[in-house]
């Protein structure tokens, strides 16, 4: 029996704020296997981003156990197990795209020749070859976000954590990036955790959809997608797709009413 890449059992997180403690996560149990594409979906305040931040060791759970690659999240971060993609591209304006992608490599102390080789490879992977010498402001929003994905892929983390990476982009760019992300996932075999607001996005991308609801943040449903790994955009019009989307919507509504 293979061990899950991310294993959460009974994870609890309470933020101590000035007026009252906020129960951000309650009794979260979840196993994510290697190569899964997992979406976290739910209304704002349901703790989906908080859960992602716990996996990244940016927050520390106040209860339960959470392991990443069999290590504590903190150790996993030090072992460079994951790349994190934020809501905004967050590229440094004073660095070219190439230099931005080199940032984690510089910090992790890769040799110079290897840096150049890796930059070339990931730029190719996100279809930005030839843009390495440009500054971020010379690129569109979608291209900037692709560059930030390249930055997260530059070192060999086998987990990719993405916090609403396409939330600020328009629908058409979003569709294109979703399609590219699936191809990238297929080619690299990474485990991806993806936070989103959008039901179609979650259904289209995921092998596993985690439906969450707020106050306190908890998991209300985990849906294993029966869709094949190979997914053209047209798959969104098939009955299977619509059925899963329906189940996600039901799950969200249920969580909202309780």
């Amino acid at each position: 029996m293979k061990k899950p890449v991310i294993d959460a059992s009974g994870v609890d997180l309470t933020f101590q704020t000035k007026d009252a403690p906020v129960h951000a996560l309650k009794d979260v149990n979840l196993q994510i296997d290697k190569g899964d594409f997992v979406s976290f979906i739910g209304p704002s305040g349901c703790g989906k981003t908080t859960l992602l931040r716990c996996i990244a060791a940016l927050e520390t759970p106040t209860g339960g156990s959470l392991t990443v690659n069999g290590l504590s999240p903190d150790e996993a971060r030090k072992a460079r197990s994951y790349g994190y993609v934020f809501q905004a591209a967050g590229l440094y304006p004073w660095r070219t795209i190439e230099k931005n992608i080199k940032l984690p490599l510089e910090i992790m102390g890769y040799p110079k020749a290897e840096m150049d080789e890796r930059v070339k490879r990931v730029l190719d992977l996100v279809d930005l070859s030839g843009f390495g010498k440009k500054f971020p402001w010379q690129l569109s929003g979608g291209m900037q976000q692709r560059a930030s994905i390249a930055r997260a892929l530059a070192f060999d983390a086998d987990i990719l954590l993405m916090d609403e990476p396409f939330g600020a982009l328009d629908e058409i760019v979003r569709d294109k990036l979703n399609e590219e992300l699936l191809k990238l996932w297929d080619r690299t075999g990474k485990t991806i955790c993806f936070v989103t607001h959008s039901i179609p996005e979650a259904v289209y991308l995921s092998t596993k959809i985690v439906v969450m609801s707020p106050r306190p943040g908890r998991i209300t449903d985990v849906i294993e997608s029966p869709l094949p790994r190979e997914r053209p955009l047209e798959i969104r019009d098939t009955p299977e797709f619509i059925e899963i989307a329906h189940r996600v919507r039901e799950g969200l509504r249920e969580g909202h009413n309780t």
């Binding site: 940016l58 030090k78 994951y82 934020f86 967050g90 304006p93 660095r95 910090i107 402001w137």
Partner: protein, 287 residues
């Protein structure tokens, strides 16, 4: 080119007001002279006289311009009557003081952003230091340093540094804290050390803030140096020129020294601005 017209208009208004004020303020002397001599003066004679007095209350623009020309272009720069000579004395102390103040300000800012105790322990003193009138403290610093055998350039530079470190420190603290939570989180996901976060994120982010405060700092340095030249009985520097002018009622000399100081300050601020543009463009952040 479209900017030229408004600028010229403002300049013209200032010169016109200045001439009017010169006539009004200097007329009393002209009338008193005429009265003593028992003669009547016509208005055109009054105007001619008020604009050409040797020791006017307010010198006319052309008198200041002529004095500036005479004491810069027409004097050898080694002469004690050359404004270039005095300007250089002031400028050298200003630049040294600015360098000391900037270094101190940046180091202070780094300390404050890295250490909470330092913020609480040092920041109030830095603020208090700026509430003391520089005119009051400058003579004391000069006397104390003189008694220790330090005179000339250094005491003036220290006062210049005293005025310029503060804006640099405040601007730099703000700049080093400019990166938002997301950018800091990104560094955390790489397990970056404090040192790496400083060199790769905080320092580059602070550059626009640094340059804004350098412009304030360099002008403050010049003011500090001039103030330091006033009480020390100095015979060299723009401050000394101002003081000796006021001893002997040489208003034309005072005004030309004032203008020289203003031109110097403007040039320094412009130079910092040019360096800012070049640096930010090299960093890809051209404003």
């Amino acid at each position: 080119m479209r900017n030229i017209l408004p600028i010229l208009t403002v300049l013209l208004v200032i010169v016109a007001v200045w001439y009017a004020a010169a006539i009004k303020m200097n007329a009393a002397w002209t009338y008193a002279q005429a009265n003593r001599a028992g003669t009547e003066v016509t208005f055109s004679e009054v105007v001619r006289d008020t604009l050409n007095q040797e020791r006017p209350v307010l010198p006319a623009p052309h008198q200041v311009a002529a004095e500036l020309w005479a004491t810069t272009a027409q004097k050898k720069i080694t002469s004690k009557r050359s404004l270039v000579f005095h300007g250089w004395v002031t400028l050298s102390a200003t630049l040294l003081g600015f360098a000391i103040g900037t270094t101190a300000g940046i180091l202070l800012a780094i300390g404050i952003t890295h250490n909470r105790a330092m913020e609480l322990g040092v920041m109030p003193w830095a603020i208090a230091s700026q509430t003391i009138p520089i005119l009051a403290i400058a003579p004391m610093i000069i006397v104390v340093l003189n008694s220790m055998g330090i005179s000339g350039l250094i005491p003036k530079s220290i006062i210049a540094a005293y005025l310029s470190f503060f804006p640099v420190a405040v601007g730099m603290v703000k700049g080093l804290r400019a990166p938002d939570a997301m950018q800091l989180d990104l560094m955390r996901t790489y397990s970056a050390s404090d040192n790496q976060t400083f060199w790769k994120l905080r320092l580059p982010s602070s550059m626009p803030y640094l340059f804004a405060s350098l412009k304030v700092g360099v002008a403050a340095s010049l003011v500090g140096t001039i103030v330091a030249e006033l009480p020390s009985g100095a015979t060299r520097g723009l401050g000394a020129r101002l003081l000796s002018g006021s001893y002997y009622g040489q208003t034309v000399q005072i005004w030309s020294a004032l203008f020289a100081a203003a031109l110097l300050a403007a040039s320094l601020v412009i130079i910092v601005g040019v360096i800012e543009k070049i640096t930010l463009r090299k960093m890809g952040m051209a404003a």
